[in-house]
């Protein structure tokens, strides 16, 4: 079977779902196109500004899209492409879509404030604290997982390592030039893009080969330094230049795919147990982003809810963006599915999921006439650049949560002039980086499932708040409860299996146990919250 059918199938399935289930959700939740959204009632010309639906969709999608929907599906390909496809499609339609759309709706109805506020409103401060804790743990796991993923990619594609280092230098140059010195953005962009191409080329000439552990140490050092420097030097330029890399890669990959139209070689279904992994629950927590991801509620409720023009757009922006991410995940699974099972294992062993993806896209682009090595290097650079930026951001965000919740009662600002803030910044960053880094060394196989579990518990919490809010405002809510229950079951089983598998790894064990306990706490909280009959506005 030709792999194009997978894309076609997912697009058609999503279009139908959007028109039917999406519309059904909108109707039964009572999305009201006549009700003024916060973008209008609280319009301040800065944050609360209505945006046109397609533009907002684009914005929201680019916020939620990342390395997750790429790594997850490829990582689960060991079970065959069919289970992966089914979970991507069904998950996006009934789980992730409901989660994303519901969180957006709830945020809009709470004055454009974040999902955390909705949680606080429905579950009290205990719920909010749980939420912060989950978010913090998940962020640390992002650091662990992505560090490992990037390091693996650097091992299999040492050319990309060189290019990435050059990219860092280039980003700094851009930052100093455009932001500090006032070089025009246009000029800076042109020079930046040209230098990016040079970086790709130089990388091929001078690959840097180091062991995976060495790369991880270097990456951990990089994350620490990067996340404490002012944004204009490194993070902002990176984020800006990344988008060029990314969209060029996506364009090249998709066009290349349609030119090459590779045949699927991977079996549709291999077996329920592959190695030490069971299809349930591993499939469901390996593919988090791309099916259902807790991060989406946080990422979206930040700006998206504040810019929504009318509630009628919630379906397009909330539900639609998730479906588009589902298509992205489909693209990812194709890069694994066109290989034979043996070849897939081989490429995965060489450099992880990222290697599979880069190899695949590189091959697709190769069919258009690009030298394959250049294309592969380019794709690896693009995704790892993305992942590195995510690492930087995740460390900063984890630091904020840590500073807010876990530091002792040091109200540094109040009495002696902010001198304490400095200490806190470095210490809390160090803690994040050390914990995340140590976990990274455990390897992708062990870390990614825990990351997936944490991310989905985060989603379960958001779904819980959503269900509570829907129920207490007299709306239909079961469509949020079923996914939530499934998430609980899957993650609890997964965590038990992980605990058993990690008896020899103390830190991983601690994480798994902590998440398990927190999940139980969450379930108990939800039972109590559902039992209460108080009406909410």
């Amino acid at each position: 079977m030709n792999s194009i059918w997978l894309i076609i199938f997912s697009i058609i399935a999503f279009i139908i779902a959007y028109a039917t289930y999406g519309a059904w959700l909108a109707k039964h939740w009572g999305l009201d196109a006549t009700k003024k959204t916060p973008a209008h009632t609280m319009n301040d010309g800065v944050d609360y500004v209505p945006a046109k639906a397609p533009v907002l969709l684009g914005h929201h999608f680019s916020s939620i899209a990342g390395a997750g929907p790429i790594v997850g599906p490829i990582g689960a390909a060991m079970f065959g492409w069919l289970p992966v496809m089914l979970w991507i499609v069904i998950g996006s339609i009934f789980f992730g879509g409901v989660h994303d759309m519901g969180s957006l709706f709830a945020s809009v109805r709470h004055g454009g404030r974040s999902i955390g506020d909705v949680i606080g409103h429905t579950m009290g401060s205990k719920g909010k604290k749980l939420f912060a804790l989950f978010a913090w743990l998940t962020l640390i796991l992002v650091v662990a997982a992505f560090t490992n993923i990037v390091a693996s990619a650097f091992v299999s594609t040492p050319e990309a390592a060189t290019s990435s280092i050059l990219f860092i230098a280039l980003a700094i140059l851009f930052g100093v030039g455009v932001y500090r010195r006032g070089v025009s953005l246009a000029v800076g962009t042109v020079i930046g893009v040209i230098l990016l191409a040079v970086a790709v080329w130089v990388g091929i000439l001078f690959p840097i080969s180091l062991s995976i552990n060495t790369w991880m140490i270097i990456l951990i050092g990089y994350i620490f330094v990067a996340s404490v420097t002012p944004v204009w030097i490194l993070l902002q330029p990176r984020d800006y230049l990344n988008s060029f890399l990314l969209y060029a890669m996506l364009a090249g990959g998709i066009i290349g795919l349609f030119v090459m139209r590779p045949e699927i070689q991977l079996p549709a279904y291999t077996s329920f147990k592959v190695g030490s992994n069971y299809l349930f629950p591993i499939l469901f927590i390996t593919i988090a982003c791309g099916a259902i991801s807790g991060f989406h509620s946080l990422v979206g409720s930040g700006t998206t809810a504040k810019q929504l023009d009318t509630e009628a757009d919630i379906k397009l922006v909330g539900y639609g963006a998730m479906l588009i991410e589902g298509v992205l995940a489909t693209l990812a699974i194709i890069t694994a599915a066109y290989l034979s099972a043996d070849k897939l294992a081989e490429v995965t062993a060489a450099g992880g999921a990222l290697n599979v993806f880069a190899d695949g896209i590189g091959t697709f682009m190769g069919s258009m006439g690009f030298p394959q090595l250049v294309a592969k290097n380019f794709v690896t650079l693009a995704i790892s650049a993305f992942a590195l930026t995510s690492l930087d951001t995740a460390t900063r965000l984890a630091r904020f949560i840590f500073q807010e919740f876990f530091t002792s009662d040091k109200e540094g600002a109040a009495s002696n002039g902010f001198t304490n803030t400095l200490t806190n910044k470095y210490v809390s960053t160090l803690i994040t980086v050390i914990i995340g880094g140590t976990l990274a060394f455990r390897g992708y196989q062990l870390v990614w499932p825990i990351f997936g579990s944490a991310n989905q518990l985060l989603a379960a919490l958001a779904l819980l708040a959503l269900a509570l809010w829907l129920k207490r405002t007299g709306r239909q809510y079961k469509m949020a409860v079923y996914p939530m229950v499934f998430m609980f079951i899957a993650t609890l089983v997964a965590l038990v299996l992980l605990m058993m598998a990690n008896l020899a790894n103390p830190i991983l064990l601690v994480f798994a146990v902590a998440l398990f306990i927190l999940a139980i706490v969450l379930i108990l909280e939800s039972r109590a919250a559902f039992a209460s009959t108080e009406e909410l506005d």
């Binding site: 204009w232 002696n416 002039g417």
Partner: protein, 303 residues
Amino acid sequence: MAKIIFYGGKGGVGKTTCSTSNSINYAEKGLKTLLVSTDPAHSISDVLGMDIGRSIVRIRENLDGLEIDPEYEAELYIEKIRANMKTILSNVIVEEINSQLDAAMVSPGTHESALFDKISDIIIDKYDDYDIIIFDTAPTGHTLRILTLPDLLEGWMGSLAKKRKSIVNMNKMVTRKYDEKDPVLEILERRQKRFGEIKKIFNNTNNVRIRFVLNAEKLPIEETKKALKMLKQFDIPVDTLVINRIMPDDIGAEFWEKKRKQEQEYLKEIEMEFQGKEFIKIPLLDSDMNKSTVDMLSKYFGE
């Protein structure tokens, strides 16, 4: 090198009398002296029998006087801000902000801040004009806390200026206007500098002296002990105690002789309790301090 002397002490011990006499003594020695009162009760005017106001007046040769009225200073400051606002902003906005400025007048910290501001002004601006500046402080024990303010305020202002500088830099990057000056930063840095100047003057222990006034009676001694302990917490050294209203030996009458003997006991206690400090003993006068008797005690301050 001008010296700055702060007079502290609880109410009723005769602070104003002592500080005034002290300043007369310096004036007679030929040292150009400025006597500043921060006491809203305007006692110095009463003691000297002349009107000492908000501007410096000549009391006699080598001696000038000034009374700080913190409320007036605060009003002056806020009026200046209001006037400044009118030149920068539209009257509509000025109207809206007026209430905020009015509220500031009655805010708790305003009094102390305005007082400190004026004291700083006097010290910095009049430093070279006088040989000695004596401050007669209000009876509240916290007034001497003003001496800790320069360090504290310089730190705060410095952090605030640093924050503002980082904002200005970031803003330059966003707006791409690299040459604009920021008036807020300039104000903050100016303030910081001024606080730093005062801090330097205060930190030089040769410049500043603190004299605490007390009577040789039970309560004043206890209160002095507490006050000194509190001042020590703020690292404010008090090296001279002025013991006021000591009864003369020939006070006569059994009643008074008994009291005098008791006072002698207290004097001994003072000398033991506050060992190592300089003691200036001032006798009890048989008449009130007024315009004509004001010179009588000055000789006791001779060094």
